[in-house]
Each structure stands twice: as structure tokens, then as C-alpha cells.
């Protein structure tokens, strides 16, 4: 397993010669120089895959794990994230994150996509239309916002969620995306985050943890039966997330290339290893491997490999997946109980811990032949330190801003629903609907 440098070089050479020959003998196609049809086709597919991860992937994953009276409200949070964040992304998010490369923030040159022509490209992704790059990145912003809500499932007021989502998108996601991917200071420092270990998972994870602490525990936590409504929905959601992740990590290569394939392979193996590891731990400590454990392990593996996927050998995905299964299991059981916070859907336990683990392991396993950077195992310990720095910045920024935003929103609208409404259920109290 793994790509030997020699093979990669000769394959690339052969392909280039063939391409040159082909372009010499075929008449010029009606294609903009730079924009590549294969890359564009893959990235369109990847965009669709990642959008599917939120709706219905995450919606099902989350909703299946809450109580019946809150299922629709939980799905509403994913739906609202899609609708709201898409428009805000086009309005200013894309521009501030990916246009212009100041260290802190981009520019508003592309607000509402001003001046974007059909064949423009973003310097970060020169072989696909800029509109497509914008759309692809939009799906990442959407799912990150939707992820945070999982920590405070069953108790957040819908209006407060919407306000918080807007603020969190503006002040946490957009800056972070710029710093890591848009040419900001973390990128220039050399922080490796292929597809969102920091920008998506850790930011959402720590945001969720802070939110769960600020908003307090669910009524009945520790005493009442809060068992999942329908785990089969969660399993279906997991399947969609797993397959969608092929677009999440594979698409982060921004090209239809061997790199994308390496990323996808590492991703898939990490999911498998994560699922098996979590199941194994449960089997040995609790006598039975649960289905919830298997899907949690898979998601843990997927989240953890995310930052490393385009930088490591595929087999590293197995190791990283195993680490994810172990650490996230520990976080969702021991750590949570010991620290006494009610992170309803384990956003911190899975995505937060997974994001930290994956980002650091990227610094360990990074392989120059795959992603152009060496990690600890290839005698470059400095990369690991850079990764620590990225983790620290993300923890502080996302954690701190989440706290500020919650306090700000809470000054205008109560963050939680009333106790009466919480007991009645969010479906009926927030949306006037109920599952029959």
C-alpha cells in the first residue's frame, strides 16, 4: 500500500506527455484555458456530496438520536443552516474568506459575487470555475454551523439559534476559513488542514462545548430516560455522511487527481477503523458492541482523518481511525461524565477531540510524496509544533467567540426555551408540529 515516489513521478510524466500530444493533435476545444473539465466535473459532484452531508445526512444523524418530541426541531436546525448560510456565504462570506490574502481577513470585492464572470478562477483552485469553488466552500460553511447545534440539542430556542448561527458564521467560521485556507496567517505559517480538522471539526466542537456549558444541561439529564428516538435514522444519516465524506475530503484536493483518490482512500479506511475500534472497546468493556457505537466510531474516524487525508498515506488512515475510535470513545464516556457537561450529541467528544487528534496526527504522519509536506515520522518535528499552534488558535478563537456570541444573543433573546416548552418538546413549542 502507499504510493512510491518513483511510480508517481513516472505516471505524471507519462500523463503530461500524453496530454501535450493530445492537445497538439486535437483542435482547440471550446474550453477556457486553465479550467479543466475533469476537475470541474468532479468538483460539481463533490459539492453535491457535501451538501447531502448536511441535508439529509446530518439532519438524520442528529434527529435519530434525540427524543421524539424534538426530532423535527433538530432537523430544522440543519435546514435553517443550509438556507441561511448559503445566502450569507454569497453575500459576504466567500469574499471575506477567499478573496484577497491579508493575514486576518479577505476583502469584500466579491460581495454578492460582484464581478465574478463565468470563466473566472480563484487562485486557490485554478482549474475549476470560481463559482464552483465558491459553491463547494459554501457547503463546508453550512455543515460547520449545523454541527454546533448538536451540542445543545433538545433545548435551544429556534430564534436564538438563527441569530447565533449568523454571528458564529460571521465571526468564527469566516475568519478561520480565511486563516487556514484563504491565505491567512495560519496558512502562511504552514498549518496543515486538508479538509477542515480545524476549520470545521475543532471549531464546531469547542463551540459546542462552550455552548453546552453556557446553556446548561437538559432538564432530566442524569435522571430521566433520554434514549434516542430512532437509531435507524442515525444509521442512515451516518451512511450519507460516510459517502458524502468522499466529496468532503476527496473534493478538498480541488482536482480530479491521484491526490483526491489518496485522500478518499485514507478517509474510508479511517471510518472503517474507527467503527471497528469503538465497537471493540464497547464489546470488551460493556459486553455488547452497540450500533450507536459503530456509527459513532465511524464518524469519529471520518472527522479525525479530515485534516490529514490529503497529506498522509492511505494506510495511515487505519492508524488514525483507530486513534479516533479510542480517544473519542473515552471523550464521549469518561471525560464527559467526569467534567459534567451535557454535550447532547457529543459534538465536542467526536468532532472536537477528533479535530485535535487529526490535526496533530497530520503533523506526525505527513508524507512529502503525498501532500508535499513532511511530518514527524519523516524527520520534520517542526510541523507538529505548527499543528499545535493551529489547534491552540482555533480553540481560543472559536471557544472565546462562541462565548461572547452566546452572551450577546442571550441579551436579546433567551437562549433556552422555557422549562415548560422543553418538557413539551421543541417540535410543538418552536414549530407547532409533532410526529404522529
Amino acid at each position: 500500500m502507499g504510493v512510491l515516489p518513483r511510480h508517481a513521478a513516472s505516471a505524471a510524466a507519462t500523463f503530461s506527455i500524453a496530454a501535450l500530444f493530445a492537445s497538439a493533435v486535437t483542435p482547440a476545444l471550446a474550453e477556457t484555458p486553465g479550467i479543466n473539465a475533469a476537475d470541474t466535473a468532479w468538483m460539481i459532484a463533490a459539492t453535491a456530496l457535501v451538501l447531502m452531508m448536511t441535508i439529509p445526512g446530518l439532519a438524520l444523524f442528529y434527529a435519530g438520536m434525540v427524543r421524539k418530541k424534538n426530532v423535527l426541531a433538530t432537523m430544522a436546525q440543519s435546514l435553517a443552516a443550509v438556507a441561511l448560510i448559503s445566502i450569507l456565504w454569497v453575500a459576504f462570506g466567500y469574499s471575506l474568506a477567499f478573496v484577497g490574502d491579508g493575514p486576518w481577513l479577505g476583502t469584500l470585492d466579491r460581495w454578492f459575487l460582484a464581478g465574478m464572470k463565468m470563466d473566472d478562477v480563484n487562485p486557490v483552485a485554478k482549474t475549476i470555475p470560481e463559482a464552483l469553488f465558491m459553491l463547494y466552500q459554501m457547503t463546508f460553511a453550512i455543515i460547520t454551523v449545523a454541527l454546533v447545534a448538536g451540542a445543545v440539542a433538545d433545548r435551544m430556542r429556534f430564534s436564538a439559534y438563527l441569530l447565533f448561527a449568523v454571528g458564529w458564521f460571521m465571526f468564527v467560521y469566516v475568519p478561520l476559513a480565511h486563516w487556514v485556507w484563504g491565505g491567512g496567517f495560519l496558512a502562511t505559517m504552514g498549518v496543515l488542514d486538508f479538509a477542515g480538522g480545524l476549520v470545521v471539526h475543532l471549531s464546531a466542537g469547542i463551540g459546542g462545548l462552550v455552548a453546552s456549558k453556557v446553556m446548561g444541561k437538559r432538564h432530566g439529564y442524569g435522571t430521566e430516560n433520554l434514549a434516542p428516538f430512532n437509531l435507524s435514522l442515525a444509521v442512515i444519516g451516518t451512511g450519507m455522511l460516510w459517502v458524502g465524506w468522499f466529496g468532503f475530503n476527496g473534493g478538498s484536493a480541488l482536482t480530479a487527481s491521484p491526490r483526491a483518490v489518496m485522500a478518499i482512500t485514507a478517509t474510508h479506511l479511517a471510518a472503517c477503523a474507527g467503527a471497528l475500534t469503538w465497537a471493540a472497546v464497547e464489546w470488551s468493556t460493556r459486553r455488547k458492541p452497540s450500533v450507536l457505537g459503530m456509527i459513532s466510531g465511524a464518524i469519529a474516524g471520518l472527522g479525525t482523518i479530515t485534516p490529514a487525508s490529503g497529506f498522509v498515506e492511505p494506510w495511515h488512515g487505519i492508524v488514525i481511525g483507530m486513534a479516533a475510535g479510542l480517544l473519542c470513545f473515552w471523550a464521549c464516556t469518561s471525560l464527559k461524565q467526569r467534567l459534567g457537561y451535557d454535550d447532547s450529541l457529543d459534538v465536542f467528544g467526536v468532532h472536537g477531540i477528533g479535530g485535535i487528534t487529526g490535526t496533530l496526527l497530520a503533523g506526525v504522519f505527513a508524507t512529502a510524496a503525498i501532500g508535499g509536506t513532511s511530518g514527524l515520522l519523516e524527520d520534520n518535528p517542526r510541523q507538529l509544533l505548527i499543528q499545535f499552534y493551529g489547534v491552540a488558535v482555533t480553540l481560543l478563537w472559536s471557544g472565546g467567540m462562541t462565548f461572547v456570541l452566546l452572551k450577546l444573543v442571550g441579551a436579546f433573546v433567551p437562549l433556552r426555551v422555557s422549562l415548560q416548552h422543553e418538557m413539551e418538546g421543541l417540535d410543538i413549542s418552536q414549530h407547532g408540529e409533532a410526529l404522529q
Binding site: 430516560n225 434514549a227 460493556r286 452497540s290 459513532s296 464521549c332 464516556t333 469518561s334 464527559k336 457529543d346
Partner: protein, 112 residues
Amino acid sequence: MKLVVAIIKPFKLDEVRQALTAIGVHGMTVTEVKGYGRQKGHTEIYRGAEYVVNFLPKLRIEIAVATELADKAVEVITASARTGQIGDGKIFVTPIDHALRIRTGETDSDAL
């Protein structure tokens, strides 16, 4: 006329229905219920959270029969619903004051 109410384990429904049909009882009402008696519940574990579930799913079967048939009905329900394990259920027999078939207006014995 007697109302025979039986709480049984859910998987026994078909056997009980067939046994009752065999003795001439051709109608029943079935509800999904939860309950416990001497059968203890079970523990469910979801990630870090453990829940002891005391209430177990059961089925409540109600049949209205002529008084003469009540004992036979109780006998066949008992025989078909029994597994010998704790939690097999219970049967209660209560008198019916009046009965009426809605479609035709037939009353009492003609309504059963």
C-alpha cells in the same frame, strides 16, 4: 356477557388469535401497552448514558364473549400465551352491562 382482557407478550399475538378463532371468537381489539409485574426491565446504554427501562412492551387483547364462553376463552388464551418465563402476562374477566353493534343496532348477545 364478559369482557376478557389479556396482557400478553407481543410475539404471542398470532398464536392467541388463532386459538380464539378456533373456539368461535371472531373479533378482538389489540393495543400496544407497556407494563411490568415480576419481570424486571433491562438496561440500555447509549454512549455514556445508561438507562434502566422498567416498562416492557406488551399487548393488551380485549374480547367480548358470551358468559358461557368466557372460561373457555381464558383457558385457550392461557395455553397459547404461556411460555413458562416470567412476564407471560395476566388475564382479567369483567362483566359487560350492555353491548351494541353500531352498523345494525343489534344489542347484547346479537352484538357479540
